[in-house]
Symmetry: C2
Subunit: 196 residues, 2 copies
DNA sequence: ACACTGACAGATATTGACATCTGTTAGTTC
DNA sequence: GAACTAACAGATGTCAATATCTGTCAGTGT
């Protein structure tokens, strides 16, 4: 792996692109802006990314990874599965709501991807589903949960909490009752998973 | 109640407005179109509806009432609460998906109202919440369900199934797995409500 | 008196000329 | 010769002139 001191790197471009997206938002950010921020011509950017869409997706993938990365730590903690699942979901929702509030431009970029279901979003969902499935499987192994199909159950948990983490619902996240409503849904879902 | 044979009625306008909306969609339908369909000047329409928004809302309210009206019959049927709740939710989702598929123009009108949460949508949600609450309360009375707060539980059921009936998710309703995923969520939710 | 019309002001939408952007490639630089 | 630039065609976005629409109201007909 040779370090290219003089050349433009993929990482530099991603960093500049995120900066530009954050500043101008998805509607105004252009590849020319990104190139200008790096002091190169926009043609150079196209040596590293096949298209503007590919660049935008790469930035968003990185941004989403920063959301889900800390959650992975919760999966294998030593605590009842129901506790971990609640913590995991609360963490996810807290992250999403914070991003919507404090990084509106990047959130808007993500929202644009979410409406036309891109592969990138599918990957993100699959990753979250995997984390949840791991916790549920653990709960089943310890007799805490009782579900027939762990993967389907993980998907159902994600679906049932969609209003609180899917960006299409972001406009309702400012409601004062949102936390109470989320708590009620999580309690309902956990009760549904529980063995009896 | 005098029948006004010669005069323009609210009902005639609503019927014409629905026709026009269905034909042109929310983006292209105008009050002038509605008036033209009725053979009157658009000024006449404003004698019956304060604004274009009021007219559009009235049409949508009627359209939504046609969706939820048949569901009310399920609420007081003689069957276990869990059976009734499942039937009710399946009925709701079937109706919504059918409308999205076969009445795309009117559905788009509804979607436009849903994104900026109008009073009309709030009324619609409150009505659905009331139906669900009635079934849950019945289930609690018969020892079938165990929930602390019936109203909150009803809201949670609506929230947990949002992906399948909220119009903002309509683009994902064409997925081949949608019915299986809905079924899994409903089963999870019913298990969560059940007394143990 | 009542329902309706038609002309109007201001708001909103459409159009088309123009500017900028995306993505490609031949050519320059180191 | 790998990394980059610069000029280009076609696509997309912008903006201001223009057209249409919304909502009002004085006037018409019955």
């Amino acid at each position: 792996m040779a370090v290219n001191e003089s050349g433009l790197t993929r990482e530099e471009i991603l960093q500049a692109a995120e900066e530009v997206l954050r500043r101008f938002g998805p509607a105004k950010a252009t590849v020319v802006d990104v190139a200008r921020a790096l002091g190169v011509s926009h043609g150079s950017v196209y040596r590293h990314f096949a298209s503007k869409v590919a660049l935008r997706d790469a930035v968003t993938a990185l941004w989403l990874a920063r959301i889900t990365e800390p959650l992975s730590a919760i999966v294998h903690q030593a605590a009842p599965a129901s506790t971990r699942l609640r913590m995991w979901l609360e963490g996810l929702v807290a992250q999403k709501h914070a991003k919507a509030k404090f990084e509106p431009e990047l959130f808007a970029t993500y929202l644009a991807l979410a409406v036309d279901a891109t592969d990138m979003v599918r990957t993100h969902v699959a990753h979250m589903e995997g984390d949840i499935a791991a916790i549920i499987a653990d709960g089943v192994a310890h007799g805490e949960f009782a579900v027939a199909d762990v993967q389907a159950a993980a998907r159902a948990v994600l679906d049932a909490t969609a209003r609180f983490h899917n960006p299409v619902h972001a406009s309702s996240w400012t409601s004062p009752q949102i936390d109470a409503e989320f708590n009620t849904v999580v309690t309902l879902v956990l009760a549904g998973l529980r063995a009896r």
